[in-house]
Subunit: 438 residues, 2 copies
């Protein structure tokens, strides 16, 4: 058999230690699939004496990650440190030194992906990152390769397990947000500082990566409209139930086609992360607890869904190893896999231009003409109402309005006007509606 393929692993936390474990446990299989045995050439860690889940021989451990990457004999670098720096410098150095790279670093890819892709192109090496989005679920490879002859029109993803767990508890146990968050923290699904998950930063990074691949355009985290779930109330969850819906935090990437001048069709991309109501009959509605799923619509294939664990050491390591096999095969053959493609170079439009639907619950005075006044407010902003439900409650009444599709800006302006109306006591719930056909 051929010379061993030398792999350096940067980081030995929950993912890195599982990567090291699998490199050993699956050694025979990996060798058969790659065509050469894999040799663990070094593991870069922050502290040599830190406790870790896997035994690594002392001579393989180093605190000098840059030295490991640059030592000249490394074929593949696996980066599972996370964060922007030093991860970026290490990946760039690895590529410059002729190594191919596998990474799980969603934050870095979403912030500065193009720099990395260009470096990989220049070096003629692979940069793969399946593990960066939705953990073990194969979604980037299907988008990049399986659907390469199709045209993706929309991606809807539940890509953050923490928020899905919290929203699931709010739906099934009737918990409030704070209570559900505490439960998630107690079970280890949420961190002590849950901001990155709860406020949608993590999902926004993944949305940028999904949108870039789905639409062959450069989309970074800064292009993604982002709203978290901390404002979602137990009342919103009940409202969703009443409608036969459930609230999910969705990462949405859509292709928007508009008729331009002279019949020319303009295509733009809209990428956003926000909580939304989806019907219980939608495949994403049954994604429970901390699971992830990505729903893809394309012109020829129709509706596809990919489901599985979105995080965790072993699942994420599985995705890393899958990439490792491809990258290692290419490295040995002196070829490259399908790289990034930004050829379509589509414009990213701001959230105000996104077309969405709203569910609005309004506490109003219980008197004649209220429905007419509310309907006039919607109409005044060019928003068409699909359904209104009116419920009397003691001395006041509640209106629940679901709109037809309109721009997000029109809908936001409508809600703004409602809040200022005399007959409106409070707008108690505003939630976008997704996953339904007009």
């Amino acid at each position: 058999m051929s010379n061993p393929l030398k792999v350096a692993v940067l980081g030995c936390g929950s993912v890195g230690s599982q990567v090291v474990r699998l490199l050993r446990a699956q050694a025979d299989d990996l060798a058969a699939r790659i065509g050469a045995p894999v040799e663990l050439a070094g593991v870069a860690v922050r502290r040599l004496d830190a406790p870790r889940e896997v035994d690594v021989p002392a001579e393989l451990l180093t605190t000098d990650a840059m030295g490991l990457v640059c030592r000249g004999d490394i074929d593949v670098v696996v980066e599972v440190i996370g964060g922007i720096e030093p991860a970026r410098s290490l990946i760039l150095a690895a590529l410059e030194n002729g190594a191919s790279v596998v990474t799980a670093n969603k934050a870095l890819l979403a912030e500065d992906g193009p720099t990395l892709y260009e470096a990989a192109d220049k070096a003629g090496r692979d940069l793969y990152y399946e593990a960066a989005v939705a953990g073990a679920i194969p979604i980037l490879r299907p988008l990049r390769e399986s659907l390469a002859g199709d045209k993706v029109t929309r991606v809807l993803g539940i890509v953050n397990g923490t928020t899905n767990f919290i929203l699931d508890r709010m739906d099934t146990a009737g918990s409030g947000f704070d209570e559900a968050l505490e439960e998630a923290q107690a079970l280890g699904y949420a961190e002590a500082d849950p901001t990155a998950d709860v406020e949608g930063f993590d999902a926004a990074a993944k949305a940028a990566i999904l949108a870039s691949l789905a639409f062959h355009s450069r989309v970074t985290a800064a292009d993604v409209h982002r709203e978290g779930i901390s404002e979602v109330t137990a009342g919103d969850a009940r409202s969703a139930r009443d409608m036969g819906s459930v609230i999910k935090l969705l990462a949405i990437a859509e292709l928007r086609t508009t008729e331009g001048e002279g019949g020319h069709r303009d295509e733009a991309v809209c990428v956003r992360v926000h909580p939304a109501m989806i019907p219980r009959s939608h495949p994403l509605a049954s994604v429970r607890e901390a699971y992830n799923a990505v729903f893809v619509e394309s012109e020829a294939a129709g509706q596809l869904m990919f489901y599985g664990p979105g995080a965790g050491g072993a699942p994420t390591a599985s995705a890393v190893l899958g990439d490792l096999v491809t990258v290692a095969r290419n490295h040995r053959q002196g070829t490259r896999g399908v790289g990034e493609s930004a050829y379509a170079d589509r414009t990213v439009v701001p959230m105000g231009e996104a077309r969405t639907r709203y569910h609005v619950a309004i506490d109003v005075d219980d008197r004649a003409g209220v429905l007419a006044a509310v309907a006039t407010a919607f109409a005044g902003h060019g928003v068409s109402i699909q359904t209104v439900r009116q419920e009397g409650r003691d001395d006041d009444a509640q209106l629940v309005v679901v709109s037809h599709e309109a721009t997000d800006a029109q809908l936001a302006a409508t809600v703004e006007e409602l809040r200022g109306m005399d007959i409106v006591r409070d707008v108690t719930s505003v939630m976008r509606v997704e996953g339904t056909e007009e």
Copy 2:
């Protein structure tokens, strides 16, 4: 840009015509992804004057498929004729003439895959066939590539849309089998002769392909235990409902690990197609109508599911085009993708050795000692009972037994004995149970 890549399409039925349509509609995208424009070099049809869904210039049409394949300048052959011959001879000739091949031919691959894989190896060309299993759903590529560093332990698939539609109607509308089949035929989901679908032949071919890829072993259709759904009754469907379950026709491929001599672990493969009850909480239970889904369990990734349309011209063509892009890129670069891998060479065990669970409904005399007698019959064959539900009904009673896991042979022998017992009036339903933890 580079010289055009010449593609020949064999067959211009519902899939072939969609392939031709997409080759045109997606021409710019395909060229960007492949790095060269794609030229439709010829379309082989049975009759030149047959009506078809897409316009093909007369000079590209030919009834001489073999002549087209052998003419010497074809880079990629797309085979969407189906069936064993002439498809096999055409694919072999294409490979011998230096073309790479994309096919959707599940029957041929399941019957004689190894011959084709060897021919591709010998020719140094790619043979891709994502469209052969579960239509548009990317499942073979994830199994072959994304999970290449993991160890798949089980695949459970709903891979036949016709039978899923029928079983879904039996579940939701309470229809009998005949009535549901007629409805499927009226809606175009079932053919006039539904045998291949209803008796599980189609699913068995797909099970063989899935098992081969998941377990890196040679599995052909002849290795697959096959039972169809024509014996499933409205009563079975009701029984399933009562248990909080639903009946699905499953393609199951499992890795069986047994302790051999001296602690050596033997791994074998068991592949089967049969109707089974699964709990409604299982992700596969929510796969409705004619949709397909494949559920994969692996050691590191855990539980994954892939969902989408399992048939139809455009969805199948989407899968064909995805393969075409990969194969075309490899062809231009003079490389090959991940080929077949039979390195594990695992034994395929017969159905009797499979470990399953049974749900058995028994009409019995309503007198003392009946339950004890039935329990003794199970115990006599080494089958442990998990639950028994007893229901009085007029002068007789019904026992519903769910067993723990045992070999299929033990369970079959138990049912055989029950049928011969005096106190047993009838065994009204026997159904395997899947998707539950012991």
